[in-house]
């Protein structure tokens, strides 16, 4: 039994329910009036659907024509409804709800639905956009946040700021907000304290870091050479580099000779590395081809191409300035001294025997007895007569009233004259007590007494000491002053012999001095005992050489620094990491000037 319940609405919206009972097992649904369920709807076929009650109580719904029908929302042409769970058939605007009544009858409730206008809107719910903020809104938020925070804020504060001073101590932070987000990498170790003060280097907007900014702190830095000569001698740039510099210089960058071209910053917390052999060789391997008037020889590999050393020396007595040895010549040094190294260094010679007998030495003389290295171990302190020579070459002149020994002062001819005059006019030493015996005079020497012309017992004049055979000429060369008076040659040595490079004696402590300096066979002070290139190459070859127990691969920076060729670059240690040599003024015996009246 089917219970057909039709629900309609009046114009006023009141519900009209009509029930009728059909006692059959098959129902037809359609637009035609003879159907069991008549639906006056153009979307419905004349005979649209047949509904058959099967023996098991289910309903078989089947299209009678070619058009399907909606069954629980799905368009089908046939289907089965179990009235116990129910189902809904859609035909046009009509919805036929199938349910089972408590009495076992099958109720079919027919309702008209209004066309759903919100359906298209409802479909939008399928899109993910319904659950997320719009792409456009998100884009605006992200983009504006980035532009405001990372661009507008730093730029605005840069334009409106009072510039902060560069402060290497790192105590003054910069005044530009958020510009730390602009850093392209950590600063080098030496500049790390400036990390919070970008303005100390980046002074003006859109202007590359200028040399003058670097030089405002690095005032004492040396120039490798004058800019025009650097530019002329520079190796040609690669095409890529040339193009980059052309563009960069168009925007105000200072070119490949500016500080920042080599001293690239923001490369991480590292020390500036010394230039490689290739870096130096780029220009120096064929420098004379571009810088035709250069005095420098070409160099690129110490083992293969390096000019012979040209030590600085005084080529004539009393010269105002030292000269550099010319390649291939044997320099004759005119230091003004008489000093045969071989006599002093011979371990069996008289000097050695004398030294053995002296409490001060107790052994044959060694280099270090006279030559004391400077603290940087690059060069040696000037030999002081009083320290190095006087133990043997005594200047004792007699006894003082107090019982001590009187000495001639060393270093000034004027003093010598005074001292000699005093001896001549002063009180003679008492004969008693004790007669003067050989060996009493002189520092601790029982065996040697200087022959200074016996100033005491015989009246020996000033000129006796200064002329050949006199006490001074044991070590000094006699000469005549401008007015013809007896005088001595000024002693002249340059501060450094090799001025174009840096040599650490400390690094060569395992070597003996005579391995490089042929002092033990030198018979005269005129021998310039500087080693030559060949002797260095016994151990030092170019950077490409294979390291062995003996061979040390040596790049240019081992001996040369860029900003001052004779300065030392070192990878560690206190600032400055290059060591400028003392000002190059040769000591033209300043004491001599005092000695001259």
């Amino acid at each position: 039994m089917f219970l057909i319940r039709t629900i309609d609405f009046t114009a006023a919206g009141r519900e009209i329910v009509r029930d009728r009972v059909l006692g059959q097992t098959r129902l037809t649904v359609g637009r035609a009036a003879e159907n069991d369920i008549h639906l006056p709807d153009l979307a419905v076929e004349q005979h649209h659907v047949g509904i058959d009650l099967a023996a098991d109580g289910t309903l078989a719904v089947k299209s009678l024509g070619t058009l399907g029908f909606g069954l629980d929302g799905r368009i089908v042409t046939e289907g089965v409804i179990d009235p116990r769970t129910g189902g809904e058939v859609a035909l046009g605007a009509a919805r036929l709800a199938v349910t089972r009544e408590a009495d076992g009858n099958i109720a079919i409730t027919i309702r008209q639905v209004v066309a759903d206008e919100g359906k298209i809107d409802a479909l939008r719910g399928f899109a993910l956009a319904s659950k997320l903020p719009g792409k456009r809104a998100m884009s605006w938020v992200f983009a504006s946040a980035i532009i405001l925070l990372l661009l507008a804020l730093p730029v605005a504060s840069h334009l409106l700021r009072t510039p902060a001073k560069p402060d290497p101590t790192g105590k003054t932070p910069g005044t530009v907000l958020m510009d730390s987000a602009w850093t392209s990498g950590e600063l080098s170790l030496k500049h790390h304290t400036l990390a919070d003060n970008c303005e100390s280097c980046h002074v003006a907007a859109f202007e590359s870091v200028q040399d003058e900014t670097c030089l405002s702190c690095h005032k004492d830095i040396g120039d490798h050479a004058q800019k025009p000569r650097l530019a002329k001698g520079m190796a040609p740039l690669s095409q890529g580099d040339a193009l980059q510099w052309m563009i960069a210089e168009g925007f105000g960058k200072e070119g490949p000779l500016g500080c920042v071209a080599c001293h690239s910053e923001h490369e991480g917390p590292v020390r500036t590395q010394a230039g490689s052999e290739a870096f130096c060789g780029d220009c120096h391997k064929d420098l004379d081809a571009r810088l035709t008037d250069t005095a420098l020889g070409n160099a690129h590999d110490f083992g293969k191409t390096h000019p012979q050393f040209r030590p600085l020396y005084f080529a004539s007595f009393g010269a105002a300035k030292p000269v550099r040895a010319s390649v291939g010549s044997v320099p004759v040094e005119r230091s003004g001294l008489v000093f045969p190294h071989d006599v002093h260094m011979n371990p069996r010679g008289g000097a050695a025997r004398m030294a053995v007998s002296l409490a001060q030495y107790r052994a044959p003389l060694e280099c270090k007895d006279c030559h004391v290295a400077t603290p940087d171990k690059v060069t040696f302190k000037p030999v002081e007569m009083e320290e190095a020579c006087e133990a043997c070459h005594s200047l004792v002149s007699g006894r003082t009233a107090g019982g001590g020994l009187s000495k001639l002062r060393h270093g000034s001819v004027k003093n010598l004259a005074e001292d000699l005059a005093r001896i001549t006019s002063g009180p003679r030493p008492a004969l008693v007590p004790g007669r003067q015996r050989p060996g009493q005079i002189g520092s601790a020497s029982p065996a040697y007494r200087a022959d200074f012309g016996r100033p005491v017992r015989s009246y020996i004049g000033f000129s006796n000491a200064l002329t050949a055979g006199g006490v001074c000429t044991e070590c000094h060369l006699p000469t005549r002053g401008p007015t013809g008076q007896a005088d001595l040659m000024p002693v002249n040595f340059p501060d450094r012999f090799l001025t174009g490079g840096y040599f650490s004696h400390a690094a060569h402590a395992k070597q003996r001095c005579s391995d490089c300096h042929a002092a033990d066979t030198s018979k005269a002070a005129s021998d310039l005992l500087m080693p030559d290139l060949k002797s260095c190459r016994d151990c030092h070859l170019g950077a490409a050489a294979v390291k062995t127990a003996k061979i040390v691969p040596s790049d240019c920076a081992m001996c040369h620094a860029y900003h001052l060729p004779s300065g030392q670059w070192s990878p560690k240690g206190p600032t400055p990491h290059y060591k400028p040599p003392p000002p190059d003024k040769s000591r033209v015996a300043a004491k001599l000037a005092q000695a001259r009246p």
Binding site: A90, A97, T99
Partner: protein, 296 residues
């Protein structure tokens, strides 16, 4: 046989006959944008990446590789141009105009050149990463590229499962089916007591599209009222059994809808990252370029 062979040969050699022209058009219509013109843009992208890598390895950059060497600037300029051009796809696809501009070619180039951009951009960094605007731009670029790769993959794989999930139902039909079940539930639940009726009301009242993005992507809806009602109704009386059966049907229908939602969400989610991050990238790129030259 002879004519067939001739016809085939004509089509292959690009004959001028109407048939072969149509064949070629149809072929090209159905060729994926990935395979466009025999992977033309793939080869161009490989060439660009290969050349960039070779240049990076062969050209000695002092003191170390970064964006500020001439090669770094070159890569940066290429990358900058690529980013701007790639982002114009959104403009291009909205311009439906005739001309030699094939949208498929654009899309193909967009995908492959976008992949090459990862190589160019990475080399431009010189592998220097930090907490700064430059790395921000780089990371945004990588995120955009990664979401783009995801997008290509889901576009290639998911549409098939989307239609499988639909079982020949349109989205509207799925909603209709749910409405039909809801109407039945409404009447079937009439005999229920207050508590049970409230469960049914909660299930009916809950929005079909209830749940957030995460629920959509995972397909897990822990607070689904239909599922809760299914569990709580223990089917004592005839009416309850009926309601429960309807709830099961409703849940099954919801599952189908949610399956569709999940696939659709997976198809669409990447664009919600890809597009805003592209715009963010262009902003970061602007800040990157300006800041680099501002503090030159």
């Amino acid at each position: 046989m002879a004519t067939k062979a001739v016809g085939k040969a004509g089509a292959k050699t690009g004959g001028t006959g109407r048939f072969s022209q149509d064949e070629r058009r149809r072929d090209s219509d159905h060729v994926s944008f990935l395979k466009h013109r025999g992977f033309r843009w793939l080869w161009i992208a490989l060439l660009l990446s290969g050349a960039s890598i070779a240049g990076y390895l062969l050209i000695d950059q002092e003191p170390r590789s970064n964006g500020g060497t001439w090669y770094g600037y070159t890569l940066g300029t290429i990358g900058f141009g690529l980013i701007l051009w790639l982002s114009l796809l959104g403009v291009r696809k909205r311009r439906i105009n005739p001309g030699a501009w094939s949208l498929k070619a654009w899309t193909s180039a967009h995908v492959y050149l976008g992949l090459a951009l990862a190589v160019v951009g990475t080399l431009h960094t010189g592998f220097q990463i930090g907490w700064n605007v430059h790395t921000l731009a780089y990371v945004l670029m990588l995120l955009v590229i990664i979401t783009g790769i995801y997008g290509v993959i889901v576009y290639a794989t998911l549409p098939a499962s989307l239609s499988a999930n639909r079982k020949e139902m349109t989205r509207a039909q799925m909603l209709d089916a749910l409405t039909a079940l809801d109407r039945q539930l409404e009447s079937a639940a009439q005999p229920l007591a207050r508590g049970e009726a409230d469960l049914v009301i909660a299930a009916l009242k809950q929005d079909v599209f209830h749940g957030g993005v995460l629920a959509r992507l995972t397909g897990r809806y822990p607070r689904c009222a239909t599922a809760i009602a299914m569990v709580c109704l223990d089917g004592g009386s005839e009416a309850e059994k009926r309601v429960e059966a309807l709830l099961v049907k409703r849940h099954a229908q919801l599952q189908q809808i949610r399956g569709a939602l999940r696939i659709r969400a997976m198809l669409e989610i990447w664009l919600f990252v890809h597009i805003p991050l592209t715009v963010a990238l262009i902003a970061a790129l602007t800040a990157h370029v300006i800041s680099v030259f501002y503090y030159w």
